[in-house]
């Protein structure tokens, strides 16, 4: 009984290690940051080491209130992209203006602004890449997807 348990644990461990080592060929990061009238600057670090050849960064942000600035920096602090979105109505419902689909406001008469940036960096600099999120009384969410592909996956 004891031998059987040890055998099962060993097999499971081997399977886990194998699965993990396969995942090492591509490194995914998926973070969602919720903002609730937030004004605090946030920095997300994405470590790049020398086994990866492509860094794919996708940042998706939607706000119903406030301002938001998104910037991408390499390990040397050089900017590799940015966008900013802003709402003007302070999160209030719209009573005038258009509210139909295709109008400037969503179906709930709320002002919503959306921004997305996609950057594919080939042979990225080794080190910590930084996604800097600078909200100003922002309410909404930011989704950060990062994918790093090895030599083998990049050539497929």
């Amino acid at each position: 009984m004891k031998t059987n348990r040890i055998f099962i644990i060993t097999i499971l461990s081997l399977l886990t290690v194998t699965a993990w080592s396969q995942d090492m060929t591509s490194f995914n990061l998926n973070r969602i940051i919720f903002l609730n009238s937030d004004s605090e600057e946030k920095k997300l670090s994405i470590e790049v080491n020398d086994i990866y050849t492509n860094l794919k960064l996708s940042i998706n942000a939607t706000i119903q209130e406030g301002d938001l600035l998104i910037e991408i920096f390499d390990p040397k602090g050089v900017k590799h992209g940015n966008f900013s979105i802003a709402c003007q109505l302070g999160g209030k419902k719209v009573t005038l203006g258009e509210s139909k689909s295709g109008g400037l406001f969503d179906d709930n008469n709320m002002e919503t602004v959306h921004g997305r940036i996609l950057r594919i960096i080939k042979k990225p600099m080794i080190g910590n890449w930084v996604v800097k999120i600078t909200p100003k009384n922002a309410r909404g969410q930011v989704e950060i997807l990062s994918d790093q592909l090895s030599n083998e996956d990049a050539s497929k």
């Binding site: 802003a86 400037l104 406001f105 602004v113 921004g115 997305r116 996609l118 080939k122």
Partner: protein, 353 residues
């Protein structure tokens, strides 16, 4: 009869003249109101909303900014993908505009940068522009938009092609090589900015060249650039002048502050060095406060007992201090202390208090 006809001639001529005048002005108004941006796009209406949005870029800093208030107009696409904006309300001078489409599910104010879903492009227009947009894309929706009818937009497209080279090119070399290629692209864009005759297109090239990363080592280039456009009062150039001025001023201030800080640090360092030097040359600094007092009294010729009385300490304490003084000053007797021109050697005059 002939005479009556001749009499009618001035009236007929006047009427004719009036009609011509009316026709001429009507034609003029019509020509003015024909300032349009029109085009036809092939979009997948299953993915994209069939609406085209037109935004005014008030400042080049807002190239990558999206707000609802930037959107100045929107039109629905026809079933054949056609659209038309009347832009006769634009000012006489060129403005930078942005056309964008929103994906279904995204709000109207939606900006997507990079990738196959990039949803916007820029163009330059004024109240007299007649612009047509042709969608020549096969696979990449926005990248295939051709803007025709107003020459500065040809420059814009060239700038976009060059700037886009960085994203599309395959680098087989090292990151150092990639950086060299990036620098070459930005240099090309700055060259376009330098030689372009349209100020808005020129400034667009400069912004796409990431001028902020290049400003400090090339301030002369930017000063010359502003000189070139010194007679141009466009709001874009005014804003850029202010930014360059602020960058130069803030960098100047930083430089002055750092210089002052270095001067102060250097001065303090010299003081420390001199003091340390003096300290080294003058072993009197090694003596404690009490030892210096004992030392000074010895130089006055006082005996141990007198020193004990003056300083109100015991005789044994005086002797202990004297031994310590001998050791620190590298001497072995009172005589040596007095004979070796002590005052000059040890410079005690300021150190006995």
């Amino acid at each position: 009869m002939l005479q009556s006809n001749i009499m009618k001639l001035p009236a007929q001529l006047s009427r004719g003249y009036l009609v011509s005048l009316i026709l001429f002005y009507s034609f003029s108004i019509q020509v003015k109101s024909q300032a349009v941006i029109s085009g036809q796009v092939n979009i997948d209406t299953g993915v994209w909303s069939p609406v085209v949005y037109l935004s005014l870029i008030g400042d080049f800093e807002d190239l990558n900014k999206m707000t609802n208030t930037m959107i100045i107009d929107k039109v629905a696409l026809s079933s054949s993908g056609r659209f038309k904006f009347n832009i006769s309300y634009l000012p006489e001078e060129d403005v930078l505009l942005r056309i964008h489409f929103s994906k279904k599910g995204d709000p109207p104010a939606s900006l997507i940068i990079g990738g196959k879903d990039e949803n916007h492009f820029f163009l330059i227009a004024n109240r007299n522009s007649i612009i047509t947009i042709q969608d020549t894309s096969n696979s990449e929706f926005i990248k295939g938009m051709q803007v025709n009818g107003y020459a500065p937009n040809n420059v814009l497209q060239k700038i976009n092609e060059i700037a886009g080279y960085i994203d599309t090119t395959e680098f087989n070399g090292s990151p150092v090589k990639a950086e060299l290629i990036h620098n070459a692209v930005y240099e090309k864009l700055r060259s376009i900015a330098d030689t372009c005759t349209n100020p808005t297109a020129s400034l667009y090239a400069l912004y796409r060249s990431r001028y902020e990363d290049n400003f400090t080592p090339n301030q002369q280039y930017y000063q010359n650039y502003l000189l070139k456009w010194k007679n141009n009062d466009s709001k874009y150039l005014k804003s850029f002048r202010k930014k360059i001025g602020e960058s130069a001023t803030s960098k100047k201030s930083t430089r002055y502050l750092s210089n002052i800080a270095f001067l102060i640090a250097g001065f303090l360092f010299c003081l420390l060095v001199v003091k340390a030097g003096r300290k080294k040359a003058n072993p009197i600094y090694d003596l404690s406060q009490q030892e210096r007092k004992v030392f000074a009294l010895i130089l006055e010729g006082k005996s141990n007992k007198e020193i004990s009385s003056v300083l109100s300490i015991s005789l044994s304490t005086v002797k202990s201090h004297i031994n310590s003084i001998y050791s620190k000053l590298g001497i072995s007797s009172r005589k040596e202390m007095l004979n070796n021109n002590i005052d000059n050697k040890f410079n005690i005059s300021d150190n006995t208090q």
